[in-house]
Amino acid sequence: MLAKRIIPCLDVRNGMTVKGINFVNIREVGDPVELGAMYADQGADELVFLDITASHEGRKTFVELVKRIAKNVNIPFTVGGGISELKDIEALLAAGADKVSINSAAIKNPDLINSMALHFGSQFVVVAIDALEKNGQWVAYINGGRIPTEKELFSWAKEAQNRGAGEILFTSMNHDGTKNGFACEATAKLSENLSIPVIASGGAGNMEHYAEVFTSGKADAGLAASIFHFREITVPELKTFLNERNIPVRLDIISKLNTSQHGQQ
């Protein structure tokens, strides 16, 4: 059975992870490659690396970093932030990125979705949508949640799908940073209206929130940053918790075998 995906998100600036680094074994300002490999070993299903200030300042995601991630991380990863041109996307693919997420650029130039799908295939295209609910209306924002647009979440997601997006990464700005749970109702509505996978983002504060977003929220994947970075929950704990609630997750059977062999020594 297809597993629900747990996706830690790493914010990157100048090639370094910039927030939420609270590990004993890792430097204060974290190396994204080191962190990514650690999450992969813990059983994360996928990773997202976001160049957080890129869109605002017009910087490009660093191809060199992507190359290092691809060399060292053995699970799929998405790269996003400040990506607006096909040639940038081509460079990221050549460097080894599995998917590229576009956000502001997709809203400003929706044809970019079609071009990406045509050139590289839909599976390579993640359309990220930051949306804020006000008076029952979900409005999509650009430039890292700074500027509201004319686009409404559900119709824009559908349009993105029809233009060739392979996945939707939906961040609820109402929930992001609150740790009060994901936007389950809106996520469920998105998921039901689309034939492509939906990644829920924003609001994860505990393991129960993940269980909710995978059941009532009908999400295919759940993304979070700080709860993992600050070790409020760990990926193995979360997966065990979800498995006990009969939510399909990938439990790495081989690493379990290795662990038990270690235990016997």
Binding site: L2, K71, I75, A94, Q123, E167, I196, D220, S255
Partner: protein, 201 residues
């Protein structure tokens, strides 16, 4: 050991290259016929569209070359689909090593959200057989991204369920193939790639 990755107009070749490097192998990425013929192992990867890719392979006469190879060959994702008889993707006749048809996933209405196309993510394998799956326990998970799938039959070396049972892996003689991406499937994928490198000719 000389490992060749067949170079063609498809993405994701770097990921396979890196995965082999993690196993201590530096593969050669080439479309040169002689280099491919003389390799100990040949990997035929791929992400892309079937008809365009088959067109390229035919132009370079790589389709016939692949079919005639005698050393262990591993097709991955689109590579596996192109080793089948025919793909529904733009009605494309394929290389014809495995006697299977490649069809598009058709979501069954009213059947919950699990039936999205493409299948994207980790799914579990069962009824595995052959050298490729040595030391891989039943129900282990591997990473898939695909909208088309190969039917099941005599050559099926691993099964997976998504909408319906399909061939997660195929094997016939020296030809091995996986629909999933071993290069992206964590430790399990690394073991599968290692098994491929360790096949006794």
């Amino acid at each position: 050991m000389k490992v060749v990755i067949i170079k063609y107009n498809a993405g994701n070749i770097m990921s396979v290259d890196y995965a082999l490097q993690r196993l201590g192998i530096k593969p050669l990425i080439t479309n040169e016929h002689e280099e491919i013929k003389n390799a100990d192992r040949v990997i035929f990867p791929g992400v892309g569209e079937a008809s365009t890719t088959m067109g390229y392979l035919k132009k370079e006469k790589l389709d016939l070359l692949i079919k005639g190879l005698k050393q262990p060959v591993l097709g991955i994702c689109l590579g596996m689909q192109l080793m089948c008889m025919h793909s529904e993707e733009n009605d494309t006749p394929c290389i014809g090593i495995f006697n299977e048809e490649v069809k598009k996933f058709m979501p069954k209405p009213g059947n919950e959200s699990i039936h999205k196309v493409p299948q994207m993510g980790w799914n579990s394998l069962y009824n595995m057989k052959g050298e490729l799956f040595k030391n891989i326990p039943d129900n282990n998970f591997v990473y898939f991204v695909h909208s088309y799938y190969a039917s099941t039959g005599n050559d099926t070396a691993a099964y997976c369920d998504y909408i319906e049972p399909f061939s997660a892996a195929l094997q016939k003689d020296n030809f091995y193939a996986t629909q999933f991406h071993p290069e992206k499937s964590g430790k399990t994928g690394a073991v599968i790639l290692e098994n491929f490198l360790n096949i006794k000719k």
